[in-house]
Amino acid sequence: MSSSSSARFVRPAVALAALALAALAALAWALCAGSLATTPAGVFAALFGNGEGMLVGVVRELRLPRALACFACGGLLALAGTLMQVLLRNPLADPYILGISGGAAVGALGAVTLGLASPWMDAGALGGALAAMLAVFGLAHGDGSWTQTRLLLTGVIVAAGCGAVVTLMLALAPAAQVQSMLFWLMGDASGASRPWPALAVLGAGLAAALPFGRDLNVLAHGQLNALALGVDARRLRRGLYLLASVFTAAAVTLIGAVGFIGLVVPHLVRLVLGNDQRLLMPAAVLAGGALLTVADTLARTVLAPQQLPVGVLTVLLGVPVFLFLLARHSR
């Protein structure tokens, strides 16, 4: 019996270790790749010691912050998607479904429309995301019942309203502004220079969510079941909503509304590891971070010197991987 129970832990441990290695490899590649070619040894020297002057600046001040920002955002979005799918008990839920990215887009594009400088774009995104989060929470709370359907409908309606405002701003904006607006909407990491707040949110959030992994497993079987099994489902769902919203707001503020990661990475990991949230959460963070880092490195190197919006690359990479896993799994 003990051998079979220890066997239950071997496969997840191997999978988590493999994902951690993949994430490290993705970060290493992001540091090596670019117009100023170098070797892993050169990058190591630039990071930790006495590299050449030019490379030190490029690696430390351009590539490292950008790679970490992408990893943090990928991890945040994948974790937010995992939590949203449990919260709404809906496999189609993603971090944007409740209007948080819509609110952020209205804030960020509003800043561009007003002709404000780029730090104001970040501030606008953060303010818009938090405003949307509070609005949906307050409206869905209404009579205190806070059912899944009511939350979902409120979020979707707020998102639709934000979408209309965004379209209006795009239609009215002068041509010079439209390019930067579109890049923000598709997700763009070229301006990400301060990854530490997002990394801190990711670390603290994962540490806060992990102890409740088994509670989430129970909640996935329905609120009544969860209550009967001793889980304080109401408080847990509020915590889930707040965490997922803050994760999404942090990610969207840093690099814009990158699509697809929050929806597909949880499913991708689930296909391989099963639906145990205790494994799913760390695995989704690693996989989402690695995927976004790889996508961003491709986005800035494939057609260099031209930079592509990373959001397009995540979808182009994610679709074939997901379809492959789905086809293999159904056999």
Binding site: M1, S2, S4, S5, F9, Q85, R89, N90, P91, D143, G144, S145, W146, T147, R150, P211, R214, D215, N217, V218, A220, H221, G222, Q223, L224, N225, L227, A228, L229, G230, V231, D232, A233, R270, G274, N275, D276, R278
Partner: protein, 284 residues
């Protein structure tokens, strides 16, 4: 009952000792349901002792599920805003259920809700292990013993060999038996079951009811929502009959289950027939 009851495996014994046979496991005092200003169910008293099976019967919308949730100390939890209001007190053992922490209550009483569809892929074993949640600590992982309990529960439901199957690939009746196995793995002292026979074929309906009788014989209490008055007459000691218009009859099943009362409660004439000494109620 001429057939021998099934033997409960040792793994499914209740870890909570029960040393006061005179005290009811579950006591409802002046419990009633109100819906939209009207009375759905007048206040009544109910005691469930260790060893007893109680059946709740009534027409659709009479408040059977709401009553069961109230008896679990969870009223209004499942439905959101539109649930009936509940009055009265529910006691688990020596204390009101509100005084029990959620986790301690979950070790004392288990609830089988009406079936909810599986949304995500999950193996049968994982699903049954969810029933072990109240017995594990914050950082605890399911141990070999929990797995043994889950396997014993699956075997009780005739689901040996189903451990690795995906829940969504099972038939409705098989999913219902998995949900029952999860409840067995919870090893509560008090079983509350909302339509446990849903989706089950005749063989498994009888098998589940005999298993519930075995649990009662093991010193547990059982409250179940049923639809067939004949099965209630055969397997329940007490019956709570709701007519959906405020009326409620509580008592020994033989006394409550008369053709006249049932015809009135279900709004349909029923005829009582006896076959081999057992009552059957035929809709006219």
């Amino acid at each position: 009952m001429t057939r021998a009851l099934p033997v409960l495996p040792a793994e499914l014994a209740c870890p909570l000792p029960w040393e006061e046979p005179a005290r009811p496991l579950l006591a409802a005092r002046q419990l009633g349901l109100r819906l939209g200003g009207g009375e759905l169910c007048r206040a009544f008293d109910l005691e469930v002792h260790a060893g007893q099976c109680v059946a709740i019967l009534g027409r659709n919308g009479a408040g059977k599920s709401s009553l069961l949730h109230a008896l679990a100390g969870l009223h209004g939890a499942g439905q959101g805003g539109g649930a009936p209001g509940v009055r009265g007190e529910v006691w688990f053992g020596a204390r009101p259920c509100a005084d029990w922490t959620p986790l301690r209550a979950a070790r004392f009483r288990g609830l089988l809700p009406q079936r909810q569809l599986a949304r995500f892929a999950a193996s049968v074993l994982e699903t049954v292990l969810v029933g072990r949640h109240p017995h594990l600590g914050r950082w605890g992982w399911e141990s070999a013993r929990d797995v043994a309990i889950a396997r014993a529960a699956l075997a009780c439901m005739g689901l040996q060999g189903f451990e690795g199957r995906d829940l969504r690939a099972l038939s409705g009746g098989e999913q219902q038996r998995v949900a029952l196995a999860a409840l067995l793995a919870q090893t509560p002292r008090l079983f509350l079951l909302d339509e446990p026979l849903n989706h089950l074929d005749l063989h498994h309906q009888v098998a589940v009811l005999e298993l519930l009788r075995s649990l009662a014989a093991d010193g547990r209490g059982v409250v179940m929502v049923l639809h067939d008055p004949g099965l209630a007459a055969r397997y329940a000691d007490k019956v709570v009959l709701l007519n959906g218009e405020g009326g409620v009859a509580v008592g020994e099943s033989g006394a409550v289950l008369t053709a006249g009362r049932l015809s009135h409660a279900f709004g349909h004439p029923l005829k009582r027939v006896e076959v081999d000494g057992r009552a059957i109620f035929l809709p006219q």
